[in-house]
């Protein structure tokens, strides 16, 4: 148990509904620095809504979001990104006709707010930095290929790499292993987590990820929050939460498939 828990982002009493559908009901979560927080819950439970509110895509009907003492509730997505919150997407959001390297370069420039009319977009220093990160994701060999030629798993990794190159303080990963075959899920998460750890400079990167696969949850999460019907129904370590009866009823099902050989 950490005695020193610095809160990076504090979501306070978030409410959000779409007509009669309650997507978030009084959700309050404090995300601590360096945490590996996993959000679980069945589809429609409110995980993605939460992520969308944090990243500015959706505005809560009530409640606030505070990042490092600043109220970011009303900010636009790009303003929130500039303050150190990056996200990856469930369906990879990439520039399909551009090369992998160009995608990374674009991400790098965006994160640095560089939009010069004259300086080349492909300066050696920037290219090298992109290659480094691509290397950590084992994507270097694809650098000059257009994204649309690449398989889904590779696109997923690129999507995450693009979010990471900006050296965010808080990285939100929306189902990082969805669409990845069962055998490769651990490999993918290992690659992602290693890349995050190796890149982290003075401060650790706080990671929040949405997941459905409980094996991944157990292995990588330091803390788990379970959603149901827009509410938080459990919050604690993975073993605590996964043993919770409500969680078992509403999220994981009463019988868990822990018998799968894990690597």
């Amino acid at each position: 148990m950490n005695t020193e828990k610095q809160v990076l982002l504090s979501a306070q009493n978030l409410n959000r509904n779409f007509g009669a559908v309650v997507a978030a009901a009084d959700v309050s979560i404090d995300i601590a620095k360096g945490e590996r927080l996993c959000l679980i819950g069945s589809n429609g439970a409110g995980k993605t809504t939460f992520v969308n509110m944090i990243t500015g895509y959706l505005k809560p009907t009530s409640g606030r979001i505070v990042l490092a003492d600043e109220d970011i509730t009303a900010l636009a997505p790009r303003q929130i990104t500039r303050r150190g919150v990056a996200r990856s997407f469930q369906i990879p959001q990439l520039c399909m006709h551009l090369s992998v390297l160009d995608n990374m370069l674009a991400s790098l420039h965006c994160s640095r707010g560089e939009r010069s009319f004259f300086r080349s977009g492909r300066e050696p220093e920037a290219v090298e930095e992109c290659h480094n990160l691509l290397g950590r994701f084992d994507l270097a060999k694809h650098a000059s290929r257009p994204v649309m030629e690449l398989p889904g798993g590779v696109r997923k990794l690129l999507d995450i790499a693009m979010a990471l190159i900006g050296q965010p303080k808080l990285l939100m990963l929306d189902e990082p292993t969805s669409g990845v075959s069962a055998e490769e899920k651990f490999m993918t998460m290992d690659t992602v987590m290693n890349a995050i750890d190796r890149g982290a400079q003075s401060q650790p990167v706080t990671v929040v990820f949405v997941e459905h696969d409980m094996d991944i949850v157990e292995r990588y999460a330091s803390r788990v929050i379970a959603f149901y019907s827009g509410r938080v129904i459990a919050d604690g370590s993975s073993s605590e939460v996964l043993a919770d009866t409500e969680v078992q009823r509403y999220v994981t099902g009463s019988v868990r498939s822990t018998e799968k050989a894990a690597a």
């Binding site: 997505p77 790009r78 674009a106």
Partner: protein
């Protein structure tokens, strides 16, 4: 600090400029005149290409074309400013200023609506120009021979002076456009074209990128308009009519968004087809253009520029 690749670009531009000047000594006058018009129009299409690189197609560049043209013509006639370079620059700036209030609004539109809003604005200007007698109304008005750094050309020399100025400005703009396309902003423009949602989520303002592309295109359009007026010796509200805007788009589509030179080649092709057809087959040149456009859209969706890269293997990496 100017990067080596930028130096190389300007070197190529200078060489091309000298080549074009040299050509004017051997080519017939009618061709030089045609080429002057082609380059001037090409500047407008170049601006459209810059916008296409961030995913929008304007159908109303007549607005900035006319703004530049009328500015140059008015300065010439009312204020006695006759220097070709000065007039061109003023035309560009005037067009930039006219576009300025609309830039960030326009940058929030896409697809058909972007096209229609630019179209509407150009037609508003057309309507105003048609009914403003002080500006010549529907007939427009004439300008006479421009000067250059104080030198007043004879009638025979004027063609060369205009060619020199137009070629020089075009080469310079082509070089700057190349550098811009290779720049950070140029890369981000492509990213916006592909996935603007992602660009926003990466922390960059898409509206800023699109708006600036629009403003640069406006400046280019104004330059083109001013140079056109000087070459034609005449201006009228048709500069802002939708069919004029349509032709600029035609050339931009023909050229594609990958090569700067292709834009000017395409513009020249259009002028040549128009000239020859008007002379020999006056009722079929639009038919020919239409078929040509269809063929390009069908078989060369990336424009001629994509083909030009196949012919020049030693080009630096295309954007």
């Amino acid at each position: 600090m100017i990067a080596t690749s930028s130096k190389r670009v300007f070197l190529v531009c200078a060489l091309v400029f000298l080549l074009l000047l040299g050509l004017s000594l051997v080519l017939p006058k009618w061709l030089i005149f045609l080429a002057t018009i082609a380059l001037a129009n090409g500047l407008v299409s170049l601006g459209i290409v810059l916008m296409m690189r961030s995913g929008v197609v304007p159908f109303g560049q007549g607005l900035v074309f006319a703004a530049g043209g009328y500015t140059a013509a008015l300065l010439f006639n009312r204020l006695g400013i006759t220097d070709a370079l000065a007039l061109s620059l003023m035309g560009g700036i005037a067009a930039f200023l006219i576009a300025l209030p609309f830039a960030s609004l326009l940058a929030r539109y896409r697809g058909i609506f972007f096209a229609m809003l630019t179209l509407a604005l150009s037609m508003v200007l057309y309507g105003i120009l048609m009914k403003t007698n002080a500006l010549g109304g529907s007939d427009g008005f004439n300008v006479t021979r421009p000067t250059l750094f104080g030198f007043r050309p004879e009638a025979a020399q004027s063609t060369f002076l205009l060619w020199g100025v137009t070629a020089g400005i075009s080469c310079l703009m082509a070089g700057l456009a190349r550098i811009y396309c290779d720049s950070t902003r140029g890369l981000l423009s492509l990213a916006v074209r592909e996935n603007e949602l992602r660009v926003e989520y990466l922390g960059m303002s898409v509206v800023n990128i699109v708006a600036w592309n629009y403003l640069l295109a406006a400046f280019l359009g104004g330059l083109g308009g001013a140079l056109s007026v000087l070459a034609l010796g005449h201006i009228d509200p048709n500069f802002s009519y939708w069919t004029t805007s349509g032709e600029f788009v035609f050339v931009a589509i023909l050229a594609g968004y990958q090569s700067v030179i292709a834009v000017f080649v395409g513009s020249l092709l259009l002028e040549l087809v128009r000239s020859f057809s008007s002379a020999y087959f006056p009722n079929t040149w639009q038919l020919a253009l239409g078929i040509f456009l269809l063929l390009v859209i069908r078989f060369l969706p990336d424009g001629l520029g994509s083909q030009m890269y196949r012919l020049l293997p030693k080009r630096p990496t295309k954007d």
